[in-house]
Amino acid sequence: MKLQVNGMVRDVDVSPLRPLLHVLRDELGITGPKAGCQEGGCGTCTVLVEGQPRRSCLLPLAMVEGAAVTTIEGLGEPTDLHAVQRAFHERYGSQCGYCTPGMVLATTALLERTPDPDDEDIVDALSGHLCRCTGYVKIVEAVRAAAAATGDQR
């Protein structure tokens, strides 16, 4: 089967039932999506599928064949962070970092559909993403900052 990950077409030879998370991590060495609860409950495995946030632990490979998958690795570069990554960095929206890939990708999708989100929009977008470090306050601040930054860019 062919997967389009971060702009590159990759061939994988595994069961079409295998969750995308395991294909990314174990077959393609893309470890940004984290293997947290692995049953859709924590959000740290979230990736973008055709721009929409999806739990990669719930998605069998067959469901994403041919679709564009974006992981945290495909969002920005260490020397050229995406606006959402930069906001999380500057606003201390990340501590241990385990939830950060999912948080950042869910935020990226949120700002695509709602460029000027209010707090209710932010909480709705991130309500399924668990963070055991930050208490969420800094994360919400980072999302607001990212929205402001991307708004300025427009």
Binding site: L17, G43, L58
Partner: protein
């Protein structure tokens, strides 16, 4: 992960039904939010081929002849178009990412765990007297959701039908401690309003037992009365002392005591909507 499992991805309802009928045994996957992690973790082994339904064209909505037909493949985030309060209940399941993948058919068919109830949509579907269209080995038929859940006939769920009629409906629930927690207990009340009189009242509790539980005594208090004539305290008291399951979310003791409170809230909301309309 069973690498050799045959995976079928039908591209039409007809293909899906044909594949279902051709297999002696198979595992049907709607959205996959329950089944896929179970298979990946080895908690479930597929029985025969796996039938993946998301490209089977079962995500349609049709309104004809006073009936809304909801495809079993509709994802939960699209159920805001369904008769109330189906959308309201769907919004309380998982988070937006899970709701974008989980399906109406999957939520209808899912069974409770020992540790938690599941299938929140079963409750409003019973309250709205919805019918489910099932393709079995020898044909396709329709039966009430209430009966479907009681008998679980072998078949492929294609659509859910709900009468598109003026109706009062409301829900009440225990808040979830977290977005991904299952609902410990919830109630849906619904009734048709004919010339201001409540008809075909249904009061259904989810989470109390393994399947949605109707409360005929409470329904009888509503039946044939005008909203202003209903004594909610009298009605909700009839929900006291019910036998309830104990699991990881709540004890049976707690559920039994909270059920009448939620019944009262649901009735007050439903009757309040009648006053708003008046």
């Amino acid at each position: 992960m069973p690498e050799a499992t045959l995976v079928l991805v039908p591209t039409s309802p007809e293909e899906a039904v044909a594949a279902f009928r051709a297999a002696a045994a198979l595992t049907v996957v709607g959205g996959g939010t329950v089944t896929i992690p179970d298979i990946a973790a080895g908690r479930t082994a597929p029985a025969g081929p796996v039938l993946l339904l998301w490209r089977a064209g079962l995500d349609t909505v049709a309104r004809t002849g006073g009936v809304v037909r909801l495809g079993a493949g509709l994802t939960l985030d699209r159920l805001h178009i369904a008769p109330a309060p189906i959308g309201e209940v769907a919004r309380q399941i998982g988070d937006r990412e899970v709701r974008a993948q989980a399906t109406l058919g999957g939520n209808l068919c899912v069974r409770p765990l020992d540790t938690a109830p599941r299938g929140d949509l079963q409750v409003p579907l019973v309250a709205l007297q919805a019918r489910v269209e099932v393709a079995g080995a020898n044909g396709t038929g329709s039966l009430p959701v209430e009966r479907y859940l009681a008998e679980r006939p072998l078949g492929l769920v294609l659509t859910v039908e709900v009468d598109d009629v003026p109706r009062l409906a409301a829900t009440a629930r225990l808040d979830r401690p977290h977005t991904h927690s299952y609902t410990a207990l919830h109630v849906c009340a619904a009734a048709r309003s004919e010339d201001g009189v409540l008809r075909e009242a249904r009061v259904v509790v989810g989470g109390l037992t393994g399947t949605p539980l109707r409360l005929p005594g409470v329904e009888a208090v509503l039946e044939g009365r005008r909203p202003g004539e209903v004594d909610v305290a009298e009605a909700s008291a009839l929900a006291a002392g019910l036998e309830a399951r104990t699991d990881a979310l709540a004890s049976g003791w707690y559920r039994a005591r909270v059920a009448p409170v939620l019944v009262a809230r649901a009735l007050n909301r439903m009757l309040g909507r009648a006053e708003e309309r008046a």
